[in-house]
């Protein structure tokens, strides 16, 4: 199955056969999705036997097109972003056959929502310095500690957990990676309220929670390598289609300008035009980056896009509050609202202004991303690092 035309032809045959045998109109949604996974038509780039066919990712558009045309239900990927974007590729890369068979079907169909248990109050940018402990006891690990910024933890069935299994070695070498049952005793999820009033995220407290050793992903002590693979997938997941001109935050501000001629002022106009140009330039640059990726010239430049996105979101939303004047001083609601399928550009200008402050902190602060660009792209030397050779337990805390 090497010839691309042949692959396409056989894929289309498979899809028609599958749809004949599983009429979307007559099949229950979950049954349909489970069958789709079993047939290898979940994600074609997943391995054969694990919901895929081991094909290049590009063929997935044929699959999605066929199912959409047939009016078939999808797996609501927007509700399981961390599961599909981070947990699944990590399980595929590091999971045993048993782990893959046990976790992937429920993950992909959306029956199980997944969360990520990485950041801690004492370990944000310095993730490898985390202190949640996992202590071996028989064929189990006993976990104690606290995680933070865990989106969807309150609805998650499973979580991917990074914990310290050996405090006596330098910090990167003493971590292990686990799959955590979020319903297990000793796992407590509490909503974390943000400065917007919302609680999009949670804190997760571990008090002597027990994880079977069979739910460890990768070797003991190799958790950092596994986590790096997970985070790499986070960066790859960003991207996709190039949005049209004036979409997102800049579109919202441009509309506000057009709708409120009475609020036009020279200083606001100057800033609006500067930001419009910057947003359009960033859009064209992201198109070029995607053309490079498609041409097989990948690079760590993805970090650059996130930096620019954060700055633009902050400056545009800040401008919009000023542009709206007294109307910009209203806030739609301070009581916490739901935290599913979040939309940065939804709600009012004042909310957007507050929410955008998080854009330069979440998923890597802008300061850390500048280090990434400087050290991985420009090859500038790292800062002196006193923390990489000393045993974790001896580091100042």
């Amino acid at each position: 199955m090497r010839d691309p035309d042949d692959i396409t032809k056989r894929l289309i045959e498979m899809l028609s056969r599958f749809l004949l045998e599983h009429d979307p109109a007559l099949t229950d949604r979950v049954t349909f999705l489970r069958a789709r996974f079993a047939a290898g038509l979940a994600e074609v780039h997943y391995p054969l036997g694990d919901g895929g066919l081991g094909l290049p990712r590009g063929y997935q558009t044929i699959v999605e097109g066929a199912f959409e045309q047939a009016g078939a239900p999808n797996n609501a990927p927007e509700l399981n972003v961390i599961g599909l974007g981070m947990a699944a590729p990590t399980i595929i890369a590091y999971g045993t056959p048993e782990q893959r068979a046990r976790f992937l079907p429920g993950l992909w169909t959306g029956e199980d929502i997944w969360c990520q248990l990485f950041s801690e109050p004492g370990a944000g940018s310095d993730l490898a310095g985390l202190s949640t402990r996992a202590v071996p006891e028989g064929d189990e690990w006993v976990v104690t500690g606290q995680k933070v910024w865990t989106s969807v933890a309150h609805v998650a069935r499973w979580g991917i957990l990074l914990a310290r299994t050996d405090p006596d070695v330098p910090k990167h070498q003493g971590l292990s990676f686990f799959i955590c049952d979020m319903t297990a005793p000793g796992v407590e999820v509490r909503p974390l309220r943000q400065l917007t009033g919302d609680s999009e995220f949670n804190e997760v407290f571990f008090t002597q929670a027990r994880i079977p050793d069979s739910d460890r992903l990768g070797d003991v002590g190799s958790g950092w390598d596994v986590a790096r693979a997970t985070l790499m997938n986070e960066r790859m997941a960003i991207g996709g289609n190039v949005p049209p001109r004036e979409s997102g935050m800049v579109g919202a501000v441009a509309r506000t300008w057009r709708e409120h001629p009475e609020r036009h002022r020279p200083d606001l106009h100057e800033r609006l035009l500067r930001l419009w140009v910057d947003a359009e330039a960033a859009r064209i640059a992201s198109a070029r980056l995607q053309q490079k990726l498609a041409a097989g010239q990948p690079g760590p430049e993805g970090s650059a896009g996130k930096l620019v996105f954060a700055r633009l979101a902050q400056e545009l939303s800040s401008l919009e509050v000023e542009l709206l004047g007294d109307e910009g001083l209203l806030y739609d609601q301070w009581s916490p609202s739901g935290n599913d399928a979040f939309d940065f550009t939804g709600r009012g200008a004042a909310f957007r202004y507050l929410r955008a402050r998080g854009n330069s902190i979440e998923g890597g602060t802008s300061e850390v991303l500048r280090n990434v660009v400087a050290e991985r792209v420009l090859r500038l030397p790292p800062e002196d690092r006193p923390d990489t050779t000393v045993a974790w337990k001896d580091l100042p805390k």
């Binding site: 106009h269 910057d278 330039a281 070029r288 660009v373 030397p381």
Partner: protein, 366 residues
């Protein structure tokens, strides 16, 4: 759908051969000498680029003896010329004058330029934006040009001046004047790698190539295409500044460490990298829009000038600052790039001029 913003193998070959030639023939010491009155580099370089490499007539259609290449190719050339600050009349003659002459269908002049026997300068002050252009010369009833046009680039060594002038009835004409028939007074300019001259016409014989709306269109074509492609020159300048700065951060030690290891310094380099990469995408997009005759070319040009002008200036300023003391010397070439970048920021309309153009195009006016 966004045009292809990557370069083809042929385009890569063009930039590689040009870069090699300029590295050998256009050292920064020779550019520096232009500030002390030695302009011999300009006279040596153009025959190699314009004639031997065929750049003089790059954009001239094949039927008029040119290469019939597209704005994409011209952008590749300008990026390399910017990187080396090559003092050649490619932008002024081969891009802008050719655009105006082509709009005016002046076949004979196009053929002369393509052949490399002479270059032509559009006689408008550097600093003219398409929205601020106004003729200052006049054409009398006998077909003679009078008046003064200040601060024009690309006149030195040129054979022809393409002069916008008002005719006796107040209409606009575009006329060719032999450079020898005008008094050209060289000026001490901020950027001596693209020196300016005052032009005085005291009854200079002229050949009218076009008039009225068609003359206005020809000037507009020259100024707009020039602005779109100047962005690529600015990318070349910014890239040199970034590369040179990063090179220095990797060799200069203070307090026992390479200065590139300090976050206060490396973060500025990272921001500059992002700006330069973004500017390259924007400049390529503008060149592609002109090459394809896309309706988006006017927005693309305004965005390119509004963005790339400031990036080149910022890159040059960062280059001076991050080099510290050596960056402030006459000896180090950083100042040559600062001067060109600042002059380019004004050359065909400031970023503010282009934002004002853009506002009208995208329905975001005051």
């Amino acid at each position: 759908m966004i045009a292809d913003l990557l370069t083809s193998t042929e385009e890569d070959e063009l930039s590689a051969s040009l870069r090699g030639l300029l590295a050998a023939r256009c050292p920064s010491t020779r550019v520096l000498a232009m500030y002390d009155g030695d302009s011999s580099l300009a006279g040596e370089l153009w025959p190699a680029l314009g004639i031997d490499m065929g750049l003089a007539g790059l954009l001239v259609p094949e039927q008029h003896g040119g290469a019939g290449a597209s704005a994409r190719d011209a952008a590749i050339v300008l990026e390399e010329l910017g990187r080396s600050l090559a003092p050649v009349p490619f932008l002024t003659s081969s891009v802008m004058a050719v655009a105006a002459l082509q709009a005016a269908q002046a076949a004979d002049s196009l053929r002369q330029i393509a052949g490399g026997s002479l270059t032509c300068a559009l006689a408008v002050p550097l600093g003219t934006c398409v929205t601020t252009f106004a003729p200052t010369a006049t054409l009398d009833d006998d077909g003679l040009v009078h008046g003064r046009i200040g601060r024009v680039a690309g006149t030195e060594g040129s054979g022809l001046l393409l002069v916008p002038a008002s005719d006796p009835s107040g209409g606009l004409v575009l006329a060719l004047v032999d450079t020898a028939a005008a008094a050209c007074e060289p000026l001490a300019s901020l950027d001596m790698s693209r020196p300016l001259a005052d032009l005085r016409f005291a009854g200079s014989p002229a050949i009218v190539v076009t008039q009225g709306d068609s003359a206005a269109d020809a000037i507009r074509a020259a100024l707009l295409l020039g602005a779109a492609l100047l962005a690529s020159e600015q990318v070349g300048i910014a890239q040199w500044c970034l590369d040179t700065t990063v090179g220095y951060l990797l060799e200069r030690r203070q307090f026992g460490r390479l200065i590139g290891s300090y976050q206060a310094v490396k973060h500025r380099a990272a921001d500059l990298f992002i700006e330069v990469e973004t500017a390259r995408a924007v400049a390529r997009y503008a060149a592609a829009a002109w090459a394809d005759g896309s309706e988006d070319r006017f927005v693309a040009s305004a965005v390119a000038q509004a963005y790339c002008s400031d990036v080149a200036v910022h890159a040059a300023q960062e280059c001076v600052q991050l080099h510290g003391g050596i960056g402030f010397t006459w000896e180090h070439p950083a100042h040559l790039y600062l001067k060109r970048a600042k002059a380019d920021q004004v050359a065909l309309g400031t970023p503010g001029d282009h934002r004002a153009i853009l506002a009208g195009l995208i329905d975001l006016s005051m």
